[in-house]
């Protein structure tokens, strides 16, 4: 199962139970959506506020470092790479600055210390525009991934789907099978680790066979991978069928009635407070957060 353990996101933290765990999943979902939506067409300050806010939430919830180590480390690396790359690559404003006047002996002192090019390293340079872009990109990446992973870390999979099911209730009027969709989603969340395990097993079975890829040639190796993919699909279908049988034996009722009573969705005082702060959050964003 090492493939699963090395995945950067989506691992539920069952212990310790923090205040984030206790918030209603629906409230958390609305907050998450706000974190995902508000960075769009916003200024850099707002994004930095979001990033710091997400970190502040982590700190006040006292989420242990061990839970975040893997994900945060991975995320920081990605964001840093994105930052550095966008800093140094061409900023898209294809200006090669040319003096408008012929060179003269008179050196005119610049009026301000404004400089478009901030840093020059050999052939590469960081311009004001590319720095802006870099901060934008890396902060948005950080906010999107970090807030989602915080949500998954503190909300049990079936809590998420129970929340979704509840929020989708109005769709029932349109004859959309809400309970069935939620149940399918929950079951598939359990199925993902099995898929990963299956992939890992097959991958191992290929690697342990000491295949001489050079000798095999492109066509043959393509065929080999095709066989592996076919095998994977076959195994997954078999697993799905086995699970279906198990569900039957364990007293499955019917797709539109099988609501597992496990998470009680009830809004408490803290949920009210969280929603109140959310209103404030949006107000600040709409007043001050727009991009210039």
């Amino acid at each position: 199962m090492d493939l699963l353990r090395s995945l950067p996101i989506g691992l539920y933290l069952e212990h310790p139970v923090t205040w984030l765990h206790r918030l209603d999943p629906r409230v958390k979902l609305v907050w998450l959506l706000s974190f995902l939506i508000t960075p769009v067409i916003s200024n850099v300050n707002w994004r930095i506020v979001l990033a710091l806010g997400a970190i502040a939430i982590t700190l006040t919830a006292r989420i242990p470092f061990r839970a975040l180590r893997q994900q945060a480390g991975w995320l920081l690396i990605v964001c840093t790479i994105a930052f550095i790359v966008t800093c140094f690559v061409n900023d898209g404003l294809a200006i090669s600055s040319q003096p408008r006047w012929p060179d003269s002996a008179l050196a005119i002192a610049p009026a301000t210390n404004y400089q478009y090019i901030l840093l020059q390293v050999g052939r590469f340079h960081v311009t004001r525009h590319s720095l802006d872009l870099a901060i934008n990109l890396s902060s948005i990446l950080f906010v999107l991934i970090y807030s989602s992973s915080l949500y998954l870390l503190t909300t049990a999979p079936e809590e998420i789907t129970a929340g979704l099911e509840d929020l989708m209730q109005p769709l029932r009027r349109l004859k959309i099978p809400v309970t069935e969709i939620a149940l399918t989603l929950t079951l598939s969340l359990r199925f993902i680790p099995l898929v990963l395990e299956e992939i890992q097993n097959l991958f191992r079975s290929v690697t342990t066979r000491a295949i001489n890829w050079k000798k095999l040639g492109l066509r043959q190796s393509f065929n080999l991978w095709l066989i592996v993919a076919e095998r994977l699909l076959e195994n997954l279908l078999m697993r799905a069928e086995q699970i279906a049988i198990a569900m039957e034996v364990r007293g499955f009722t019917s797709p539109d009635r099988h609501r597992v009573q496990w998470h009680q969705l009830r809004l408490g005082i803290s949920d009210g407070v969280a929603l109140g702060i959310l209103v404030l959050f949006w107000w600040v964003r709409l007043v001050w957060g727009w991009a210039a």
Binding site: Y12, L187, R239, R250, G251, H258, V260, H263
Partner: protein
Amino acid sequence: MKFFSLSYSCSLSYQLSTNFVSQNAINVNNLSFNWQINTPILDSCSFSIPQGEFWMLLGANGSGKSTLLNLLAGLLEPREGNIETIQPLGFVFQNPDRQLVMPTVGADIAFGLVRENLTYPETLARVREALNAVGLLDLQRRPIYALSGGQKQRIAIAGEIARNCQVLILDEPTALLDPDTQIELVQQVRTLVKERNLTALWVTHRLNELDYCDGAFLLERGKIGDRGDPQRLKRRLEKEEK
């Protein structure tokens, strides 16, 4: 119907006090089944298991043990013969990954309770009681993928206990476990059977598990070839292995 004298004081006193004298939890009469024509897997096979006892089923690979359990669970239709069991009946598969369907432990156990239309507090109480019975109460919120094989198997059993299953049938539950966990699981099932007056039928290949059961069957050529005292069966099979 004649039973070998395997009197455990607890089950005996229970039987006397409730007039359940020699009531059977599972009764199988002249059961026949075949996957292909002319190759019967089960050939008018008959047996019964007394209520409150822990029995094991042995047999060579491909002798039809899993098929028999599937018939008991109603997953297959017999060609002939009939099966009577106390309901509800719980099934534990060899591979717990095939049994546990929800992402976390508590939700998985609650999955089997939907049929009873319980309220949330009732469900919670049932889940906790079942987890307590297998000694894993502190794993209630853990995701299934983060469990060890032995723990998964015990969660699978807890799921069936939560449903108040009176009969448990287990298809090689220890096949994927290491020797220590294996013995722990057998002991635990034995304790559960005795404490809750359940009935269990356990399929196995490992002869040392026979030390924990009340009786055993051997399935051979579609029939019960031998049955009775587990120690005698164990000695016989050990001799045949040599």
